[in-house]
Symmetry: C2
Subunit: 228 residues, 2 copies
DNA sequence: AGGTGTGAACACTTTCACAGCA
DNA sequence: TGCTGTGAAAGTGTTCACACCT
């Protein structure tokens, strides 16, 4: 899988795949629930069961970043949760701008959980002048013309692209030029960012078409295995 | 990468990875644009450039399903687009129910492109009685109590989960029991489906945390490579 | 005993490189 | 000549299995 669909980061002198990071995020979520439930020790087996993976995978994932467990005993829930937060950068708050105040952008701006997760929506911009000044989930829509100024003034870290496909690349370029550090792209197009800028894509039609493929070929070809 | 995060389908006597299927979706989108632009032949190199991959990958992806090109010449845009549609099951329309008429569910119900892509939103259900009867993007909200009946009556193929996390598994079980064939889950929880039922997850907070990890460790550890 | 941490084996994906055809 | 189709090589990710600690 050379030069895989996902790139990797060097940490502790080994490559850490994006898969491992994704699972770390999941473990973190599970640990939060356990912690809230008063559980204070957890085994790799427990985490694996909740995270729909296996114990060896959990231990391997954690081992990329350090040794957090106690042999014969397991992991301290609070300690591990807290360590994963540091690893993922969740021990600080992140400033986010959403570009595009259409249905999706507005829904995202109104998503209250962002705050609880450590992400502050500091601005929502749109190219449609008639939307400017309106409110969406407590955020006032600004003009996309002010995007560069907003990113600079508010030292925004992340940009969420919720524009139509044809506008996405232009907006991304503008965000990058303004100093953004990462982009979450919902537009159905492969945008380009320079090295050193983070990028994730969420492409709903690709996910849906993955399902229709599974269903279609499940009838035609051999059996099961449709898990994502 | 044994028993990878993605499962695979047997087609033409070889395993086809979910990665390949995802890219097929992307090639399809690119081909549509080319076709609309009047282009009638395309090389693996052209597709690779647009799809941010490489020519060998494109040819390998296609080779899982057949031989569609002409040596020395390339692929006929219309033929290839049409063959990929058959492979992905896009030569028929798909009936979809959205569960959860909150911000996200409503935004999805209003997403006009679904229709153009071959997906018909036949119902939108919610557990909040006060929303029942309201309209969202041309779809009237039904009660979640009627979910089983709706799936049966309208022979719904796919379910989109846009509920809070605690309700997701229950709804998925209900959909599966009612005969749904695939689930696209937006709830931030790992749901379980039986073998033979398609599942894809879109987890926005995991994507965001992937970005914060990249940014955080880019400062700490070695250089670039933050592509998704 | 019981569960972690990890090198090595295994499984899968991508890239290479070139034969083969139009 | 030019570009496809594909075995084989290279590169990654996951699972195994066991030494090691508590």
């Amino acid at each position: 899988m050379a030069r895989s669909p996902f790139a990797s980061q060097r940490v502790r002198d080994t490559r850490v795949s994006e898969y491992a990071v994704r699972r770390l995020s999941l473990y973190h979520r599970i640990l939060r629930v356990m912690e809230r439930g008063g559980q204070d020790v957890v085994s790799s087996d427990d985490l694996a069961r909740e995270g729909r993976t296996n114990a060896a995978q959990v231990r391997k994932d954690l081992s990329y970043f350090g040794t957090f467990g106690k042999r014969g005993r397991g992991y301290d829930v609070t300690v591990l949760r807290s360590r994963i937060e540091e690893i993922l950068g969740l021990d600080k708050r992140w400033r986010v701008v959403i570009v595009g105040a259409g249905r999706l952008g507005s829904a995202l701006a109104s998503y209250a959980d962002f705050g609880r997760l450590g992400f502050d929506i500091v601005a929502l911009v749109d190219s449609d002048g008639s939307k400017v000044g309106q409110e969406r989930g407590g955020v006032t829509v600004s003009s996309v013309a002010d995007l560069t100024a907003i990113v600079g003034r508010d030292t925004v870290d992340l940009g969420i692209i919720a524009t139509p496909a044809p506008e996405a690349q232009r907006v991304v370029d503008q965000l990058v030029a303004a100093g953004i550090k990462g982009v979450l792209n919902f537009a159905p197009v492969k945008v380009k960012v320079p090295d050193g800028i983070g990028l994730r894509n969420v492409d709903i039609s690709i996910e849906l078409e993955g399902l229709t493929f599974d269903i279609t070929s499940a009838g035609a070809a051999a059996g099961p295995g449709l898990e994502s």
